[in-house]
Symmetry: C3
Subunit: 364 residues, 3 copies
């Protein structure tokens, strides 16, 4: 339902398809006369209105195609052939409707949001030794410390702090209030959301013989690759001796904790509230569900999927899906079952005793 | 024990009771001569001193009534009748002592905290297109972007950022360092604590045919109703296409993660560290215990209580209490039981085999 | 591998050992001719280069001693005697290599990081009633409200906010963007990392007879002892009536939630993502693993270790280690076992029936 652009600003269907072509996506319009329709926004099959484009990404929602009010719908050839009647909307054929939706949403988002002006806000505090490319935007009340470098096209929201000698690549986007400690290396096209903290000290203490803890200074750093996105209030700690590493294309959701010396492999995606303890290595193309917890010093190989809430307490050497969350129940039922859990080894012993006795009976 | 006001500033018991009357609470003083006692603060039965008021909210603490040192105690008529002797403190009769305590604590809190002056601090950066009511307080180093509207009586702490075209209702209280993204709608009397982030991008990516992830721009928004309170470092993501919605009277504690397109119904209260994955709908008047995790795309009906730590992985259609946390134990005992858990289906099979054999024996 | 200092800045081995002596650590050099070797940094046995010092903290890594490329290695006498050949590096004998590493890392860290200049940045907003010691550093865009006191030698990073009447002791280090509410008391040598929030309101509401929730103003405070370190984005709520207390020497990692009126005893260390609900008391010298959740109103005695991910739902009265995390498995295996968990009490009943029947058979 969100009509994003006014009728004057809205592109025609043809213009949208041309944009997609520049992104390498070749979509087909079933009826060429629809090319001039103006598209003001994008919506779900259920909610899209008469000036919006929608998409069918899953055959299970095919029934919604008959009631959909959109101006145009993206669908696969198979879904189109499943229609018994000619639909009232324009049909755009493409084999990956979800991907096309992703790129269209990017297009509309960029069209409606005012492009941030380049330049440094007068209230920002920039150390003279910092090296900042020409077309960068630095918002109000930012602090850029000594020897920082910021690449071309980067946009830094209000109140961000970038510590001594850290570097930020090209076309980065830091939302308001990101905190980056000293000597952190961040590559190109990285997106960091508000409240995320990169490079705080890892949790390292040695027991002191006189009692208490001696702090182990964390002299490693954090290296973040290209095209990484990190969600709001996520924290990535700096390494103890070597670096914490987030490889190219990694996507981290909100409120994730990445401990010191963790390595996360390329294109791995991790949902919110996950904690990863120190020195664990996660492979490439893994998917970790929300609120999973991963112990320290583990090795998780490439192409592993971890279900939400799972506590991973040992290394995983085989690709595949792993789970471990305890099923919930109505409180009373849960109480009965929970009581048995504390006696499981006893229960197994009772079964063993029965088996032994049963065995003896047989041999009588 | 915290004596909040000096003797000169302290109200009499009568003045406090008049204030409560304006709030619709009709309390009774057992002995009218106590009306002129000065009350400097509020304390627990155990710790309240001779110039403070206390309260009994639970009959199980009745024994503390005999040793309590407070100047006055709020209790129910039943609790009062349970006393064998006339107590040394003034007795205030009211059937909901806990509610009266809540309102008295508000009164004392507001009396001791300096009212923030209205006006905009000279270091705040306010876009000229923003529309700000007259008696608003905006603290140092705030950033108010273009087309923002802020209603009468709202107080914005130091270093808050409110993004392009967002709106804030009347009498809102934003503590220092709150970050609100663009186009967010927040209603009246909302309290947001430090570090909370409203409207960051939801976690949406489409797999790209050439590998990696295409970002799905999050073009929905967040709508927050009246009287909502959101705790420190909690994050509420903006919707993908439609909006994320927090209804009137919802209370969220610290470090909660609300995913994109989640709906939370009126007056639902959620304790700290809870994660709610995308598109889940939670009904009205629910109570969710701390560190619970709720999967995405679920429907949880009204009046559901979820115990702390429970992983809710399927929809809940019946009001009531649900639980699912695994009982802990001494490490050794836990090791024995945990080992059995991995063999549960095997254990069940063994029981089945025994039953079958037992059955056969019977029929011999 | 991180060479931290240039050859000119690097200390000799002898200078490092003298520094350690000032810290009460008496180490011995096996071969005095090595005293003049320049040490530019510190590294792990595997990664340290020819200008760095390393250490063996665990006999299980003894095999790495034969391939280590470091300029010098710290080890125990026993580890040294285990060597069959004279190693190519200088050997420093000390019985607690890990502790020595901790102190050396501190030394190198402080040597490389530019000492923050004392003084108040001109963009900081300081209330005239605040009392600030002479040699304090206050960074850009900080806000220090009325009646705040800050002790000698403290360093406050960019964008920190310290609320009305709060006090900070000597030699504190606040990284960028820490938010401290009003009337909070913080002692000496405390380290607070970016994004941590101290003194937000505890989660307290009384059900209102007309529906919804009445806020219980949180009129207690937070008291933080000496030598406490608190990680990035951790939140410590203020007390309802009395104070939340973090005792001397406590170490809290990132993204921890400490509820109102919690007490944490001296030298207790808590790993990331732990939630502690209101009014719980944790003893001294406890260690809590990551992502553990601790219910409210519990008492946990001194010297308790809680494994990561454990849900502690009842008080612990005996020192020792406690665990409770559910073992994960490959998804299919997990599905089989999870299904049985919901039927555990039934399974126990079936075993009981078999036992009873078995008993009868015997007595026939």
């Amino acid at each position: 339902m969100p009509v994003l652009l006014s009728a004057e600003q809205a592109p025609t269907l043809e213009q949208l398809l041309s944009f997609l072509q520049t992104q390498g996506l070749q979509a087909q319009l079933v009826d060429q006369t629809a090319a001039s329709i103006k598209i003001q926004g994008i919506g779900s099959l259920q909610n899209a209105g008469g000036t919006e484009i929608s998409f069918l990404s899953n055959p299970q929602w095919r029934t919604q195609l008959t009631t959909c009010q959109a101006a145009a719908v993206i669908m696969t050839a198979a879904d189109y052939q499943s229609l018994s009647d000619k639909p009232p909307y324009a049909v755009v054929l493409f084999e990956q409707p979800y991907l096309m939706y992703a790129l269209l949403a990017q297009w509309f988002d960029q069209s409606r949001i005012q492009t941030l002006p380049t330049g440094i806000h007068p209230t920002a505090v920039i150390d003279p030794s910092a090296s900042i490319a020409d077309d960068v935007h630095i918002g109000p009340h930012c602090v850029i410390e000594a020897h920082v470098t910021i690449g071309a096209g980067s946009r830094i929201g209000a109140g961000c702090v970038i510590g001594n000698a850290s570097s930020l690549g090209k076309n980065a986007l830091l939302h308001a209030g990101v905190k980056i400690y000293h000597q952190i290396q961040i590559a190109d096209r990285v997106i960091l959301h508000s409240g995320c903290v990169i490079g705080a000290d890892g949790f390292g203490f040695a027991p002191h013989p006189e009692g208490g803890w001696a702090k182990i200074a964390q002299i490693g750093s954090v290296r973040i690759g290209n095209d990484v996105e990190i969600g709001a209030n996520t924290t990535v700690d700096r390494g103890a001796l070597d670096d914490t590493v987030i490889a190219d294309g990694v996507k981290l959701d909100n409120q994730i904790m990445v401990g010191h010396n963790v390595h996360i492999g390329t294109q791995t995606a991790i949902a919110a509230c996950v904690g990863i303890a120190g020195s664990t290595q996660i492979g490439a193309r893994c998917i970790v569900g929300g609120a999973a917890m991963i112990s320290g010093h583990l090795q998780i190989c490439d192409d592993v999927q971890i279900s939400g809430g799972t506590a991973v307490t040992s290394s995983i050497k085989k690709p595949g899906r792993y789970s471990g969350v305890y099923p919930y129940a109505e409180h009373k039922d849960w109480q009965y079952n929970a009581a048995v859990i504390s006696q499981l080894s006893q229960l197994r012993k009772r079964v063993r005793d029965l088996e032994r006795h049963d065995q003896k009976q047989k041999h009588k």
